[in-house]
Point group: C2
Chain length 504, copies 2
């Protein structure tokens, strides 16, 4: 029997739903024991908290299975919560926003359905991990884009606006063509896939009429069951580059130079500028949060002569940045056997687990961390102001500032993180409380987060308040139209179905 | 009084609506005389057809005016049809899908609200023309992306998936942040603009939660009143490049080489490969449709040394294409005074009217043309197959094949066109009838159009038939939820509100 029940769902209704899931998917595809469910808790919450506890887990193997799950959920009015791998630990992992929800665990849908070398794309199911996609590309001259930790779902990461570090590192922008099971069980294909037998589903990002793809990201409007992912062709030469500056004083000049290089297309990947996160630290010996220098990693890809000219342009652009040291490691694109360290790996699409190991240093396996990631414009002035703002805000809570800034040409994602011992409730609570304070303080100055943890989805959504929360009204209108019974991931990103909507 | 009435709208209701529009916007902002309305007919239809005749025109000057228009339309159940400039003549210009609709002419909303040089973007209202944006960028080191004809609306072109030819030439991908008046009069800002005072509205393409921007393109779900547009920084050097091959035999090899160069980032703009459309024809003397050779134009932008290395890479990649002749013209990015011909202008963002003049050669000002633009994958094999398919299909109707292929790295837009004399009904009808036949024949092989004329919106939408028209069901669900009275642009892209939905 389920250990946690969703609001308004009786033990009997949940029982009937679970029986129906087992009939439809087979008994081995349904988990309900307390022991089985423990694997799916919020991994970085205090171990004693149980607000985000699932009621059961179902494991569809096919689109038809997903449709059956949705139909049964509608029939019994049971809330679902979906995940591809559930590895976005700092955001809640596989755990549901609403206690007692039935987890739709998509790990069994793990096929790479197509790899197209000429057109540089792959088609994946939601259970495909970055490791799996990388494996599927062996023998092809194609590189995937991977985030810092490789065990996550390609689809899951992408739908949450996750990021990687190759030229296709803005994963949401690299999507081309989705198949989606809607909350009522209907199956939609987007773009050119909306035509049966459409030949351009994964090569053209739009079709005829409106493009709904963005609606299925960070939302609860559908379950993505197939997705086209654009890849980058293996270049002739890959330069993994590093720039180091001694302290904050040089960051504005560095950011301005970097923005120029990105806007003009010299740097086409997504650079990471970090303090205290070990970038460019070959030996991996500096403890997290200890260093005071800033380090930037970025990459150049292409023909030898082009890359050489680009590197010279980088040298020229960085010449006036005070105290900057520039270095690079050069690899042939067709032979990555010498690529062994984390920074070099992620910039050429090789997934790994190194960062996970590093992040467990503070308290071993009990280490949790909570990421807070506001977006700022990419001018040096704005970047430095945000660094100072965050350093002060964290300082007010006695928390050190640890940051990795992912640069796009025009905006920067300031990923900051705080480590704590998940066995220590008071310590964990302090970090969570500080987070809430920071969210409000940032919003007061016009800065929003790009993503957040289960605990703060409502608070972060609340900050998006233009025109008395027009975005929320719009999302609720869509939610009511697409999911009238409110069964799909209620509360995700602060979007609630009518029957669970908080009074305002 | 209005000369044409929408279905189900009485003369009295229309009269009351027009009075209300005049009260809200001022009498000079409402046009109803037959003579005034003539300017807004479908410019390339046979002169005697009147299916797409407007009932009135309203000219809002502000977001509040647009909201008032929408409120009045809801009150009187009068259908609206919006346009920025209404210059997409081959698709129907400013004319409405539903006879008698009230045109929402946005030409008075013509302000460039912001130009941000550091972050390379502008914010425009929907009446801003490419000419206007170009003017507003004088003194800035920024280039806009412009289509072949410069008098259209930046917003209008972008929302219809229009294309330009710089590195930001995929206009829909270069949008960052919209303000939208919804059919119920509510005002939504997307992305980071959903936060009041949000600092990253036009630099980060997503916010928190789902991204609806794609929903407001090629649709009737809202009226876009502000839009952020990403621009490209003025490069040190601009190379306007041309490749010419004698006949079809070389097109496969050319397309494959081109795709490789685009996938690896050597060519970052949107090349155009044409036959009979005068590309690279300095003197502009070849009549449309006459040439048998193929000509490709593309551009390189950047530091001198980088561009030189890239041009060498292009030479190497094109070396094996049979009979190819490559040439280039080199300009300093800061001095475009020597850029005078059409091809060189559009690749560095200078708007013009040359193509309009050329396209009027066949029958003078009475010349119409109907564009049919299927999408194919960008492999040489697929490109050649589509060329042959279209040549055969057009040939079946005795129509010459005239084409401009816009290349992206993975897909190609095959823009083909047919000229006719709009004073000749039989000739015009033959071209339209052929179009319908081609739409069906292409769809039978899995190829869809990226955009179409008023007359064929239903037919083209009908071809997007996966899962018994799941896309149509989805669009109708959204339409009913967002626009329950069905007042906004009914029938656009085949999306009909409930009360006008054809029986199926």
């Amino acid at each position: 029997m389920a250990v946690a029940l969703p609001p308004g769902v009786t033990e009997q209704a949940m029982g009937r739903a679970i029986e129906a899931f087992a009939r439809a998917l087979g008994p081995d595809a349904v988990l309900t024991s307390e022991q089985d469910l423990r694997e799916f808790r919020d991994p970085y919450a205090y171990v004693g908290w149980d607000e985000f506890t699932a009621g059961a887990v179902v494991m569809p193997s096919s689109v038809e299975d997903v449709r059956a799950v949705v139909r049964i959920a509608n029939e019994h009015r049971v809330p679902l919560w979906t995940f591809g791998q559930g590895r976005n630990y700092t955001y809640g992992g596989p755990a549901p926003r609403v206690r007692g929800s039935v987890l739709v665990n998509l790990r069994r849908m793990d096929r790479v359905l197509e790899v197209n070398e000429e057109l540089a794309y792959a088609v994946v199911e939601p259970g495909v991990r970055f490791f799996d996609l990388h494996d599927a590309l062996r023998g092809h001259r194609l590189w995937p884009s991977v985030p810092d930790i490789g065990w996550g779902s390609v689809v899951g990461n992408t739908l949450e606006h996750g990021r990687g570090y190759t030229a296709q590192g803005d994963h949401a922008s690299s999507v081309c063509g989705m198949e989606v099971v809607l909350p009522d069980g209907d199956v939609l294909r987007t773009g050119m896939g909306a035509m049966a037998g459409g030949t351009s589903w994964h090569v053209n990002q739009r079709g005829f009429g409106p493009s709904p793809d963005g609606l299925f990201m960070q939302s609860n409007f559908g379950i993505v069951t197939k997705m086209g992912v654009w890849l980058m062709p293996q270049p002739e030469v890959y330069l993994s580059c590093f720039a180091r500056v001694p302290d904050d004083a040089a960051v504005a000049a560095l950011a301005d130079a970097l923005r120029g290089l990105m806007l003009e297309g010299v740097i086409r990947n997504y650079p990471l500028l970090g303090q205290g996160v070990g970038i460019g630290d070959d030996e991996g010996t500096a403890a997290v949060g200890e260093a005071s220098h800033w380090a930037l990693r970025f990459a150049l890809y292409g023909r030898r002569a082009v890359v050489d000219a680009q590197y010279a342009a980088v040298e020229a652009a960085f010449a006036d940045v005070p105290g900057l040291e520039l270095s690079r490691r050069t690899y042939a694109g067709h032979d990555l056997s010498g690529v062994t360290n984390h920074d070099d790996k992620v910039q050429c699409g090789i997934p790994g687990m190194e960062l996970m190991e590093r992040f467990e240093e503070p308290y071993g396996e009990a280490t949790g961390h909570l990421d807070l990631s506001p977006v700022s414009p990419a001018t040096g002035r704005e970047v430095v102001a945000m660094v100072e703002r965050l350093r002060t805000l964290y300082g007010d809570h006695g928390i050190p500032y640890v940051a990795g800034l992912i640069f796009s040409a025009r905006s920067v994602l300031h990923i900051t993180t705080t480590f704590f011992d998940t066995r220590d409730e008071a310590q964990t609570r302090r970090v969570y409380d500080a987070y809430g304070h920071l969210v409000r303080a940032l919003a007061a100055e016009g800065y929003g987060l790009y993503r957040t943890n289960l605990m703060y989805m409502d608070l972060v959504a609340e900050q998006f308040d233009f025109n008395d929360h027009a975005q929320r009204r719009f999302n609720e209108t869509l939610k009511d139209a697409l999911d009238p019974n409110g069964i799909l991931s209620p509360g995700k990103q602060g979007i609630w179905p009518r029957h669970l909507r908080p009074a305002r």
